[in-house]
């Protein structure tokens, strides 16, 4: 790890062990003495929180797998059995399903923190890329996990997502066939998803080890984005960051527990408590909240292949981010323009998430009402004109029917209806998608060349001492 080892074996046994398997030395250097910048804020606690979340998911998942029945006839009932008859099964099941959401909440904060403080820049490119790999594995794991209860959203989510692969030319259909294990979403699909859902978390665990290794070579980045230059810049990881991480983790677990005990169903879709039925399509097929932004990007592109490419591209672009950002300054604290670009980016991601949960044709903005004009014959035989208007096209249609019923269908001629100017969800998604890609592909490369960064402090210690002095003066 960074710097020479400071481990001193405390006993004869430790000395004996150290010469054969220096595991105590590794632990000591990585998690006790590890020199860590002294200025890490609470945004930096999410790495520890994520390790915790991963362990929680693996432990609860192993218990659930002991009781879960991976078959299309038994899966749904087995989840009910877990909730009702397995001792504390309801608790384990709630922790696992809420845990998935908490895991993603933490990973999004962790990723945005890395983005803001430039943690992807040299020499941490590999660290960042490993993180994106973990995120991709997480998405695959979560998606397959959502299929396992075999509710309506499970079934139709699996059907829609696997169908996306068929958009890829030449190999698309064979890939889809291979993913489903047949021509339709069926028992073979459920069985392989269960197998992979059990496998992938351990792959995540492996990449997490690499991720931590890659972190411990250059050491932590920090909110100032300046390198550690002397021991005065750092504190040992233990007890300083073990206690800070533990405190932040406890706050996180408070939120976690509030959901587990008081709103366990609130993060899922009620339709997933309807057993899967291949003959009934749900009124809306939506993924879990954490995948909604990508769902919005997928639907923003009118072409199926284009949508799929954009969706995968939105994650693919993260892999090359270290080379897209041309700025020499790491932390956006000292980048007046990029900083606002980042704030807008966060807003755009949230807005994309909202769009992903709406019907694409829903109007976000509408300038007026739908209008329909018609002609009809009055009782006296004269021809008169009339008009009706409504807020939505469905309402207008209903009114038109009512009008026809009132006057008599044979006596009335309807003209084409006129729609008001509208911005629909799909159009908003297109604008947001444009910014999403523009941020990475245009803004970050260009800003690095034209932006005049603020003055970056020479060392962490200097900046910290100056801050402390100002705080004392004002206090």
């Amino acid at each position: 790890m960074s710097g020479p080892s400071t481990y001193v074996p405390g006993s004869a046994f430790e000395r004996w062990l150290d010469q054969r398997l220096p595991i105590m030395r590794l632990a000591h250097d990585s998690f006790l003495a590890f020199p860590t910048p002294r200025n890490l804020n609470y945004w930096y606690t999410f790495g520890g929180i994520l390790s915790f979340a991963l362990v929680v998911q693996i432990v609860t998942g192993i218990v659930l797998a002991m009781h879960y029945v991976p078959s299309i006839s038994g899966a749904f009932a087995s989840v009910q059995r877990i909730e009702r008859d397995v001792p504390f099964g309801w608790l384990v099941q709630n922790i696992h399903s809420v845990g998935a959401s908490m895991f993603f909440l933490a990973v999004y904060i962790h990723m945005l923190r890395g983005l803001y403080y430039g943690s992807y820049k040299a020499p941490r490119e590999i660290l960042w890329i490993l993180g994106v790999v973990i995120y991709l594995l997480m998405m695959a794991t979560a998606f397959m996990g959502y299929v396992l209860p075999w509710g309506q959203m499970s079934f139709w989510g699996a059907t829609v997502i696997t169908n996306l692969f068929s958009a890829i030319p030449v190999v698309g259909d064979p890939i889809k066939l291979w993913l489903l294990g047949g021509f339709a979403t069926d028992n073979a699909t459920l069985n392989r998803f269960f197998s992979l859902h059990y496998l992938l978390p351990f792959m995540i665990f492996g990449v997490v080890v690499l991720h931590i290794w890659a972190l411990h070579v250059p050491g932590n980045n920090n909110p100032l984005g300046v390198d550690v230059k002397s021991p005065a810049d750092t504190v040992p990881f233990h007890p300083y960051y073990t206690v800070k991480d533990a405190f932040a983790m406890a706050v996180f677990v408070l939120l976690f527990a509030a959901f587990v005990f008081y709103a366990p169903d609130s993060l899922g879709h009620p339709d997933n408590l309807i057993p899967a039925n291949p003959l009934v399509t749900p009124a809306e097929i939506v993924p879990e909240w954490y995948l909604l932004p990508f769902y919005a990007i997928l639907r923003a592109i009118p072409d199926k292949l284009g949508g799929v490419l954009a969706m995968f591209g939105s994650i693919g672009v993260l892999f090359i981010l270290p080379w897209l950002d041309t700025s020499k300054v790491r932390s956006m604290r000292f980048r007046p323009l990029a900083r606002w670009g980042f704030v807008l980016f966060v807003g755009v991601c949230l807005a994309l998430g909202w769009c992903g949960g709406q019907l694409p044709d829903k109007a976000v903005y509408q300038s007026g009402r739908y209008v329909q004009t018609f002609e009809y014959r009055t009782a006296a035989g004269a021809i008169a004109t009339g008009a009706i208007s409504a807020r939505t096209s469905a309402e207008l249609e209903r009114r038109a029917h009512a009008e026809e019923a009132r006057i008599g269908a044979a006596m009335i001629t309807m003209h084409a209806s006129v729609a008001p100017f509208q911005i629909k969800v799909v159009q908003l998604s297109q604008m947001l998608t444009l910014y999403y890609f523009g941020f990475f592909l245009l803004l970050l490369p260009i800003l690095g060349l034209i932006e005049r960064p603020g003055r970056v402090p020479d060392t962490i210690a200097k900046a910290v001492l100056k801050d402390a002095a100002t705080a004392e003066r004002s206090a």
């Binding site: 059907t159 406890a250 408070l254 029917h401």
Partner: protein, 287 residues
Amino acid sequence: MRRGMLLILAAFCCSLAAPALAASEARHPHPQAWSFAKPLGTFDQASVQRGYQVYEEVCSACHSLSALSYRNLGDKGGPFAAYRAKNHETGAEEVRIGPSAHGGKFISPNDNPAVKAIAAKFDVSEIDGTTGDIVQRPARPADRFASPFVNEAAARAANGGAYPPDLSVITRARHGGADYIYALLTGYGEAPPPGVEEVPGKHYNPYFRGGWVAMAPQLTPDRVSFTDGSPSTPDQMARDVASFLEWAGDPKAELRKKMGVAVLGYLLALTLLLFFAYRQIWRGEKH
């Protein structure tokens, strides 16, 4: 295979473009004052008991409750939980059904007289070990709730093509939960708005998605005569059966909420302790 793929593609397109559904969106159910709605709320077990009676006498003719066994009715926190307690006036041991106000010894659901009596009203089929024939016998507390139809096809055939959904988790499988069940059961009788076409054989109900539901209005006045003498109004029956279904869908809710208080309390104390530990450790360090 082609056709299957087309179907999937059509489903996918539907998910992309579902504007036609906007017309059939259902009216939002009005929130009711449920005893279980609050974060620490509990079930009104008298209401859940009556609700079970409504389910047994009305709903169970078409709707299954497949995730539940009869013994669940006598679980701790269930509507027919039984306790053995001493009568303070006569000094005799007696069995009390329902939530225990003064403690007493909990009776296993398998020995619970109320649950045994309920189970015995239903027949379940089993395979005779000596002949291999399928035979009928009265249900025991350990048996699953008897289903009204042997399979989905039989259920559809008996209900004009509609499939009465299983009610095990119905309050969790619909937006609005118990409010929705109450609103749906009491929401009949309105004339459809002008321009809405009538669907033959179906009944207009503004709370049902699409507006036309295959289930005819069920809870007519005096449909059930409650054993506890409560008035048998449609409102009362709907309220009680919604309470029962809420309990049936989430029978551990009371335990969950109670345990949550202890867990959150513990976590809060731990968080405070860690905060002070953090302040203490970082006291001398600038950061």
